[in-house]
Amino acid sequence: MTTMWRPSWLVGCLLLILASSQATAAPGSRVAELVASNDAEALRGLGPKALPEMVRLYKAGDTAQRTRIANLFYQLSWKSPEAVDILIPDVRTQDPELRIAVQYALGRVSDDPRVVEALLRNMTQDPNPLFRDKAACALAYDQVHLSEAEKVRLYEGLIEALASEELQIRAIAIQALHIHTGQAKGFLPNAPLEMRQKSIEQWKRWLAEYKENL
């Protein structure tokens, strides 16, 4: 019978001291340097203590700087309420690169319900089909911090979007649903309305069962 290794109290205390010393913020100049050189791996090496300075740099930055930092948030995938707070205002920016970077980054930094709502709104209401498509991509691939319960709103929104009058919105909604569930339940975006409605009913029943099992 083997025994699991457990640190002694002394080792535990030492680890605690080390951990608390590492929790202090990273030097701002170093973070700024790594942001400027787009060095996600080195930032990862610094750990989440780099986040406050990244948030500050984002607030103070121009569009190019914001785009770069949003892309870094995406790559680092660290949960951060502060990052959500600064990214959300740019989720409807008309700058294409910043918009797409922010849409992709949001789910990587948070499970905040505002993120799914903002992306669903962009996917279904934005006049620009590119932004709609990229919002659907973000909903499909980047909501990495959502729990199974938190995914309910995401699924609800995607299923609602299957009833859109806009063909592209129906197409990207079913793609996102397929990526999450591996299924289409017979939904074809360009099928006659009656056929689509039958499939939407199936999706609604599926969602009800999903909720029952939470």
């Binding site: 019978m1 083997t2 199974e148 569930t181 591996g182 299924q183 599926w206 069962e209 099992n213």
Partner: protein, 329 residues
């Protein structure tokens, strides 16, 4: 397990009927008790991934039967997960019977067990058919893309999992036996597979920690059996972990203008291997390795050469560079 379930007894009877010669037809596709010395990794057995700070190895700490089981340990925040990934011939029809025993130390830590096909580990057609996981202390399965709770797991307790999977209909029956309890604690019938895909092919199984890198799970797996409803004639093992030499499965590409030197050397090495000029094959493969971008295939071909030259230690070391090892670290 202290008390065997009826299903487990039936399974043991089935195992007892396994023909001794591997070439004879048998319904058993996979059988690992970890007590019979059959721990060779390879393309026709299983791979072991001891990534980052995680680990997979034989252990005698806990076992459902015999003397050993396999221990998997994940480490949160290490950007990877440990994995025991096993292979069997792809099935698109018939029934598959799956059995394994599972013991977890802390049920709150996440683990995942899946049976999948050539579509790999996702919920698409030919992807995952059967998916068990732990979440917040519960054992769950994913059916029709919905995670559903099966039972509250007890720590340090063996569970026997039996699934009968109808490949064509994409549905399974599931029974779970808890150590010391005769009747199944879970018994489900006619459940849609993970992504609700009739006809979803199966060809591999996998035991891992978690994908979100938040798990510090430690768990034990024993008595893994995958059988089918008919006898299948599997080729005999030609060398440890493989039913064909790597040179036969992965020959170098045909000659082409401007090809890298390493590819030419590999092709010449293959030719030498095929006429069993093993020293020349070894020399050519080793020279190819110095510049090749395809090191894995060359290492495995060198493993073939070592096997035929009788250098079993070198064979093992080379093969395990790619497929991993269950030996204690």
């Amino acid at each position: 397990m202290r008390r065997m379930s009826t299903a487990a007894l039936l399974l043991l009877a089935l195992l007892a009927a396994i023909p001794t010669a591997a070439a004879e037809p048998s319904p058993i596709l996979v059988s690992y008790s970890w007590d019979d010395g059959k721990t060779e990794t390879g393309p026709d057995t299983f791979s072991v991934f001891r990534n980052a700070r995680g680990n997979v190895q034989l252990s005698n700490a806990f076992r459902a039967s015999g003397e050993q089981s396999v221990e998997l340990r994940d480490a949160a925040g290490d950007h990877d997960f440990p994995e025991l990934q096993g292979y069997f011939p792809e099935l698109r029809t018939g029934w598959l019977v799956i059995h394994f025993a599972l013991l977890v130390i802390d049920p709150r830590e996440e683990l995942n067990v899946a049976l999948a096909g050539p579509g790999w580990f996702n919920l698409d057609q030919d992807g995952i058919s059967f998916w068990l996981a732990t979440r917040d202390g519960n054992l769950i399965h994913t059916t029709d893309s919905i995670p559903k709770r099966l039972l509250r797991l007890k720590p340090f307790t063996w569970y026997g999992i039996d699934a009968d999977y109808d490949v064509v209909r994409g549905r399974y029956d599931l029974r779970i036996y808890e150590e010391g309890i005769e009747e199944p604690v879970v018994s489900l019938k006619n459940v849609p597979n993970a992504g609700s895909h009739p006809g979803s092919a199966v060809s591999m199984f996998s035991f891992i920690g978690d994908l979100a890198d938040r798990s510090n799970v430690v768990y034990y797996v024993d008595d893994v059996v995958v059988a089918t409803d008919r006898k299948i004639e599997l080729p005999r093992f030609i060398a440890p972990g493989r039913r064909a030499y790597f040179v036969d499965k992965h020959p170098a590409p045909a000659a082409a203008d401007g090809e890298p030197t390493a590819v030419r050397l590999e092709r010449q090495g293959d030719a030498a291997f095929l006429v069993r000029d093993l020293r020349e094959a070894k020399r050519l493969y080793e020279e190819a390795l110095t510049t090749s971008e395809n090191r894995a295939t060359l290492l495995l071909k060198l493993s073939d050469v070592s096997f035929l030259m009788g250098d079993l230690a070198a064979e093992k070391a080379l093969r395990e560079k790619i497929f991993g090892s269950l030996d204690p670290r």
